[in-house]
């Protein structure tokens, strides 16, 4: 009856005996044994040389490599996102030449390996010994310099990573823009907003919800891909540890050092991504789900509540 709740009493829980999931317990037990064995082997195998890991983890050369990795990630991701937005908007242009250029760019960059592109940028001097800016078709030059001076290994690394990332980001941004309901654009236009205003204020913020998760993945991907620049003699994290172990022959512990740092920063990025996704998810669900921290607090409060009730 609809009025049953009105008397304020809690309804009695169904006094059923829960189903026993024996299979789950068995699987859980097996996994625990395997994990324990893994931990035992990792901590007792002297060849891991954990003391060496500890010795190098915070060494100056490794930290310099970490800084280089972060610089490369931030700059090439920034370049990639900017380029991605521009390419995505170009791709949707009514001008066939503009959208064609964008398509060609993505086709070329996605169709060739990043490693090859990086090598290409580092050998650019063989193709264009001087890099100049001036009037096209051999007119007077405004400024310029030797390719090897302008395109240092660091610049080559940024160009390789950033231009490559731009192609992938273009597709992500385009998917995001396409995901926004046409009605949003129409109502913005009907209010007198221009195409640019509509894009910036209405479409892109809503596209963010679709763009952010894959962009987080891309950032993590780029962070790890910075290790490729070791082939063009940029001293990133991987190259830094390689340089050390080429002298000390302690390959395993030094590669572990590199992995520890990659894991630290991919973890930080994943956490950041979670909160950014939450931010752009507002307005789509009626109530945001609690963060892990909020969930933890809630759990503690609930346990305290139970303890207090049992104590009473």
């Amino acid at each position: 009856m609809a009025t049953a709740v009105a008397d304020g009493r809690q309804p009695e829980e169904v006094p059923a005996i829960p189903v026993r999931h024996y299979g789950r317990w068995v699987v859980g037990g097996v996994l625990l044994v395997l994990i324990a064995n893994l931990v035992y082997s990792v901590s007792n195998n002297p060849r891991f040389e954990w003391s060496v890991v500890g010795q190098y983890l915070l060494s100056e050369r490794v930290l310099d490599g970490v800084v280089m990795m972060l610089e490369l990630t931030v700059i090439s991701m920034g370049l990639g996102i900017t380029l991605g937005v521009v390419l995505a908007v170009m791709r949707m242009s009514p001008n066939p030449l503009v959208s064609g250029v964008s398509w060609m760019y993505v086709w070329f960059v996605r169709g060739t390996p990043l490693l090859v592109q990086l090598l290409f940028w580092s050998f650019i001097a063989a193709l264009y010994p001087r890099i100049t800016f001036g009037v096209p078709f051999g007119g007077p030059e405004l400024f310029g310099g030797h390719a090897n001076v302008v395109i240092t290994p660091f610049v080559a690394a940024i160009l390789g990573l950033g231009l490559n990332e731009g192609a992938y980001m273009a597709e992500i941004v385009r998917a995001g823009i396409l995901s926004v309901d046409e009605g949003q654009v129409e109502s913005a236009h009907s209010l007198g907003m221009t195409r640019l205003q509509t894009l910036r204020r209405i479409v892109l913020p809503q596209a963010m919800r679709v763009i952010i998760p894959p962009t987080g993945n891309e950032t993590i991907q780029v962070l790890k891909t910075t290790s490729l620049v070791s082939v063009i003699a940029v001293v990133d994290l991987l190259y830094a540890v390689q340089l050390i172990y080429s002298q000390s022959y302690q390959q395993v512990p030094l590669l572990i050092v590199a992995c520890v740092w990659y894991l630290v920063f991919t973890t930080i990025l994943s956490i950041g991504q979670y909160y950014i996704e939450r931010h752009y998810g507002r307005g789509t669900s009626r109530q945001l789900p609690p963060t892990p921290i909020q969930r933890g607090r809630l759990l503690i409060r609930r346990m305290r509540g139970v303890a207090a009730r049992e104590g009473a």
Partner: protein, 255 residues
């Protein structure tokens, strides 16, 4: 001197590819008039409404709003297409309320209402916020300023959409089946808001299936079918004594 009609259409044609949706619409809406467009789905009512603020480009004929061509500029004996920015500026004078509300889902009700005044008309933010609160109160939602569209019912969203359109101080309001996507019990609030607006003298063109609203609030009822105007007249007259067979057939189904 006769007053310039708010909307004047002469032989308006519109095709989507091979499909001719409007086959020569001629009508006039006087300033302060409430015109209701009625007709079976696919009759071109919504398309005509969308032509009025150039969301759709017309293929033939002429369409004027307040004496100015929609989407074009006449100079001598030539007609020039307007730039996007000029079209945008003209749209600021025409409010549109859509069937599916189309509130900006990443903005609160208040942000939805102030967005265009602040960005397009460059109204100072404080003033826009003050006016937005007044408008939300006017449509009966003074306490929902901070709510996101997903937290509002359909009827509430549609009333915010009306407030958003009014914030631009339009001289003409277009309603495209504003209550068709609503649960029956929510229709009344939206119609009340529209009734208020009509009472204050707003010029309105309303595509609707709400016969009761058309009868009570409308000054003119236009019955459309298959891209042409079949019958025009005072709502009570048309509804009580439809002259055309197609009108009779339609009304017998919906009444």
């Amino acid at each position: 001197m006769t007053a310039v009609p708010m909307v004047r259409a002469e032989g308006v044609h519109k095709s989507f590819g091979p499909l001719e949706v409007l086959k020569g619409i001629t009508l006039e809406v006087a300033a302060g008039e409430v015109m209701c467009l009625l007709g079976p789905s696919g009759s071109g009512k919504s398309t005509f409404l969308r032509c009025i603020n150039h969301l759709e480009k017309i293929n033939a004929g002429r369409l004027w709003v307040d004496g100015e061509l929609v989407g074009y500029r006449e100079s001598g004996d030539k007609i020039y297409e307007l730039r996007d920015s000029e079209v945008a500026r003209k749209r600021t004078e025409i409010g549109v309320v859509f069937q599916r509300f189309n509130l900006f889902s990443h903005m609160t009700a208040l942000e939805n209402v102030i967005e265009a005044p602040v960005r397009v008309k460059k109204v100072p933010r404080a003033q826009a916020v003050k006016e937005a609160h007044e408008l939300l109160a006017r449509v009966g939602l003074p306490e929902k300023a901070a709510a996101y569209p997903a937290q509002l019912s359909g009827g509430q969203q549609q009333r915010v959409a009306i407030a958003r359109a009014l914030a631009m101080r339009p001289k003409l309001m277009l309603f495209d089946e504003p209550t068709s996507a609503l649960d029956p019990e929510l229709v009344g609030d939206v119609l009340d808001a529209m009734r208020d607006l009509a009472r204050q003298g707003m010029t309105m063109v309303v595509v609707t299936h709400e016969i009761g609203f058309a009868r009570e609030v409308g000054d003119t009822l236009v019955f459309m079918d298959e891209g042409v105007v079949v019958e025009t007249g005072h709502p009570r007259a048309v509804l009580a004594n439809p002259r055309h067979d197609r009108t009779i057939a339609f009304l017998s189904k919906v009444l």
